[in-house]
């Protein structure tokens, strides 16, 4: 779909953002490919929103360099105008109605597509009379989706855009996102916890944990880049050997590990002989494996 040799839409180098003494982002170096859909995954507090805010010029890195379309976005008017980031807790002026918001957006986004906005507003059934700030969680998310998609911003960022949306509305969002992206290719960055549901949409995946990048790769390469290994602890440990264990759960004599690296045929046949089960780890497994070590909790519960 996209040309890997093209200049990345976003380049971060050694980006750190500290709030008082805490590093929300810690020495993040990352390229985000232009024209691709990239998913930003990680647990709450991993630094996803901070990273997106810095890319959009809403926040500023404490140290490190940030380039969006070749320029530091902070206070750079053309660069900021080419980015759309509607926050998950976006504020609107008190008495603003839907019509007010839809009048405001085209003043700022030169590529605004009115027809697309109208289509989305109708499909999400957004109320016209209610003040926007009184919208429900789902309506607020829908409005954010309308603003993000209809902006056609060269870099469009969605921060957990599905909050409060039911399955039907979410599926509609994925449909329109993919349709409009195919018709008007642009760089899309989205954070999500609904990994199983949204991973087919993604071309690239970045996994963030405790302010650091733990994985950044093509989604197709990341799927199956780790495996779930489970069975009797002795057999599992013998099989895994010195491979890198991302997560381990042990209950009594049973173990379930997430192990780095793909399973090869030899490992598979060894596993079959030892009565150990090997399945490819999903993206969800991989994300869950980082940032949580359940063995301690479970062993605590056992004793």
């Amino acid at each position: 779909m996209t040309d890997d040799s093209a200049a990345p839409a976003v380049r971060l180098h050694g980006v750190t953002r500290s709030f008082r003494r805490v590093n929300a982002l810690d020495n993040v170096t990352l390229d985000i490919q232009a024209g691709a859909i990239t998913g930003l995954l990680g647990r709450n507090g991993a630094g996803k929103t901070t990273l997106m805010s810095i890319i959009a010029g809403h926040d500023r890195a404490t140290s490190g360099s940030v380039e969006v379309h070749g320029h530091d976005p902070f206070e750079n008017a053309p660069t900021m105008a080419a980015v759309s980031l509607v926050r998950d807790n976006q504020r609107y002026p008190d008495s603003f109605t839907l019509a007010n918001v839809l009048t405001a957006a085209p003043l700022f986004h030169k590529r605004w597509d009115r027809a697309l906005a109208d289509e989305l507003v109708a499909a999400f059934r957004l109320p016209a009379k209610t003040a926007v700030k009184k919208y429900s969680r789902g309506q607020m998310s829908s409005l954010g989706i309308v603003l993000g998609l209809a902006s056609r911003a060269p870099l469009t960022i969605f921060d957990e855009p599905y909050l409060g949306l039911d399955a039907t509305a979410r599926r509609f969002f994925y449909d329109v996102l993919m349709r409009d992206y195919l018709e008007h290719p642009r760089t899309i960055l989205l954070s999500t916890h609904l990994i199983d549901e949204m991973e087919p949409l993604l071309e690239h995946v970045v996994i963030l944990e405790a302010g650091r990048i733990v994985r950044a790769a093509a989604a197709d390469d990341l799927r199956g880049s780790a495996m779930n290994v489970s069975g009797l602890t002795t057999a599992v440990d013998a099989l895994v050997g010195d491979r890198r264990v991302l997560q381990s759960r042990r209950i009594g004599a049973l173990s379930s590990l997430v192990v780095d690296g793909p399973a090869d045929d030899r490992l598979r046949s060894d596993a079959a002989r030892a009565g150990v089960e090997i399945t490819p780890a999903s993206l969800q497994d991989l994300v869950a494996a980082y940032g949580v070590d359940e063995s301690a909790a479970l062993e605590g519960a056992r004793s």
Binding site: M1, T2, A36, I37, R171, Y174, D175, M178, R179, L182, E199, P200, L201, L202, E203, A218, A219, D220, R223, G224, T279, P280, S282
Partner: protein, 120 residues
């Protein structure tokens, strides 16, 4: 259409191959474009492209510049042969191994298969 375990691009390739085997995409006809498949399945076009690429590598599909992807001559036969080979590897070989461990001779295995065939 997505099931766990198999990579998504593999599933895309399999679904097109299934379509060719079932006759939905006769040889010489065009298959849906990357974008059509991406929009229809809500799957990233890069992933779809990778899936179609697998079929191009096996000469099941071929590109016609500016027109799209077409089913190659002999694709159905090749798929049938491939599937037959993997059927033997995945089902027949283990069947015979299991039969041997149960002490069943080939004749008995043939008889069991014939019975199963007439029952179903």
């Amino acid at each position: 259409m997505l099931d766990d375990g198999k990579p998504i691009f593999q599933q895309i390739a399999d679904s097109i191959a299934d379509g060719i085997l079932a006759g939905s995409f006769p040889e010489g006809t065009q298959v849906p474009s990357t974008n059509e498949l991406a929009a229809f399945h809500r799957i990233n076009p890069a992933t779809v492209g990778k899936g179609l690429g697998l079929l191009v590598d096996r000469d099941i599909l071929h590109k016609r510049r500016g027109l799209g992807m077409f089913v190659s001559e002999g694709a159905r036969m090749r798929l049938q042969n491939e599937r037959t080979a993997s059927f033997r590897a995945a089902f027949v070989a283990p069947l015979l191994t299991e039969a041997a461990s149960l002490g069943l001779d080939l004749e008995t295995v043939h008889r069991i298969i014939d019975q199963e065939g007439t029952n179903s």
